[in-house]
Amino acid sequence: MSLILPLLAAVPLLGAIAAVLAPRAGKGIGLGVAIVLLAALAVLVGGLNTPVVLPLGGWEPPLGIALRVDGLAAAFLGLAAVVMTGVLIAAPYRGAGREAAAFWPLALLLWGALNAIFLSRDLFNLYVGLELLTLAAVALAALSGSAGALAAAIRYMVFALMGSLLFLLGVALTYAAHGALDLAALPGRNPQPTDALAAGLMTAGLLVKTALFPFHAWLAPAHSGAPAPASAMLSALVPKASFYILLRLWFEALPDLGRPGFLWLMGALGTAAILYGGVMALRQARLKLVIAYSTVAQIGYLFLVFPLAGGGGAAQPWAAGAWTGVVFHALAHGLAKAAMFLCAGLWLAAAGNDRIEALRGAARATPMAVFAFALAAISLMGLPPSGGFTAKYLMVTSAFAAGAPYWALGPLLGGLLAAAYLYRPIAAAFAPVEPELRPVPRGQQAVPLALALGAIVLGLASAPPFDLLQIGRPEAAARGVE
Amino acid sequence: MSGWFMFLATVLLLSLAGALWRVWSGPSQADRMMAAQLVGTGGVGVVLLLAAAGDWAMIDVAVVLALLAAFAAVAFVKAQTPQGAGDPEDDADG
């Protein structure tokens, strides 16, 4: 294990350095990194019974920084590895031109930043990881160089910088009050009057970075303006990183600060995001914007974890279910959304534009991609037997068990909205007309299909990931925040 | 002795308010930049007085401030030429 954690943290960074030195070999380097990381993760998950902690350089916190893997971290590391592998296989960049020379190292740096965040237990280190993630993501969003993409990337950066500063301010206040940055040291801290302000600042910063409604304005233009492989990473993985930090913060570091009003507000904003994102997705004419607004909605589900797994002092049997359900949702959404953006990329290349009408007859020209899109849609709608269904089932049952059925409203209406906005591209694809699309090689259609199948398998075989998530599950996820 | 140095440092710092006024009122860009250079030079003086009052290790900061003020002046001069890539002497001739 002492070698696995450093491998997970450092191999993507080494790969990025190699890709800077040899831009032409970018794809080969990326796939090499993917093989090493998938193997390392397989060994890790196979042997993971209790959380593993590695103090870096042998310096224990509070002096040093510790990496730690538990079930939650392993699940997100696995999501990043699967999605990134798919994206790197699908990405079409060749040669040593501007885009290829930028894409491969930036994609690997993005992966390295994600892994660093999923492994880190130190608040300031998480800040540095978030900044690395942001810079790589903004650069990828601007990759096409078109005026629209540049404006979207700047807007993204303006929001992301504000989010980083708020987070950093909260981290500074936490260190000033407790002399500690390690997440594990915070539950046992000596409570201070400044704790609520520090937690509020960190949370506000992370909400902006996660694009929770009403901080979502940057997301759709940035995700839809990026090249498809970049959109897949930006939509499936990047907002998950800041949400992951929120989970760690509220369920492990500071569960005692959760007040009913705060938990309720998070749930209300989440529900609003589900409805707003769904309605906006319904009104878009371009497929990539539909998928991007769908992300705004799907992010909303994640925040139902606060009212469902929080609140009330006594032990709540449903809290653990809600927490697990939300993590399942994050995983299923990541896989399904990456598949959808990769499909959109194929169709954009085949049709020359990404208007929904351009998809008419796509089921004949690109049957595998349409099948992948439909499978991903099943998971986003929350239909059985997908990972999205398992997630929504857990959330909705916890909402009823908790005696707060109104929290089930978002997932139920959100599923209907998803069905409505995803029906349009699928109906167009199955329209009985001669397709105007150029044919796409089957090999390229296989990658989104594999990712979408992953989202389905997550529901069919939910027991192993379920068991994995229970390893080192934070106590507050079972007992409730506060 | 150190109290005396601190007093001088305070007076020197206060006198830089005049330079701030020049940065504010301009009117030309060169006026503003020259006033910033004055603050840089005054800052070096303040660092030296602080170092005399406290720890001489501070003088490294004075060296860096003096050096980067000169670099900033070059960047300013270059920025006066079209696209910031020319030489103002050439542009003045032509």
């Binding site: 800040y127 903004v138 601007a142 700047i154 950066m157 303006v158 950093l168 500074a172 260190y175 | -």
Partner: protein, 98 residues
């Protein structure tokens, strides 16, 4: 007492920077405001770490890291602003154009 003055000064700088960041529309001025907020946070953290008499070196190291990160972000932001200017002849975001 001296340290408290500098800490409160840091708090004030954060406020001034946030004001400018939200108020200004020109993108370079927002980059500048971002840097003012950053240095305000650092001053706040540094002053908090100096309250015990002997300065705490951990905030100093964090701040140096933070300054480097802020400079990296500023450089990318400035390059984006210039590229945006070439592409759209605008120095603001589309929604902020008068």
């Amino acid at each position: 007492m001296n340290v408290t003055v500098l800490g409160l000064c840091g708090a004030l700088l954060v406020g001034i920077g946030v004001f400018a960041f939200l108020w200004q529309r020109h993108l370079l001025r927002r980059v500048l405001a971002f840097n003012v907020i950053g240095s305000g946070i650092f001053l706040y953290l540094g002053a908090a770490g100096a309250r015990g008499g002997a300065a705490d070196p951990v905030p100093h190291a964090l701040i140096i890291t933070g300054i480097v990160v802020a400079l990296s972000a500023s450089a990318l932001a400035v390059a984006l602003v210039l590229a945006h200017l070439h592409a759209s002849s605008a120095t603001r975001l589309p929604e902020d154009e008068p």
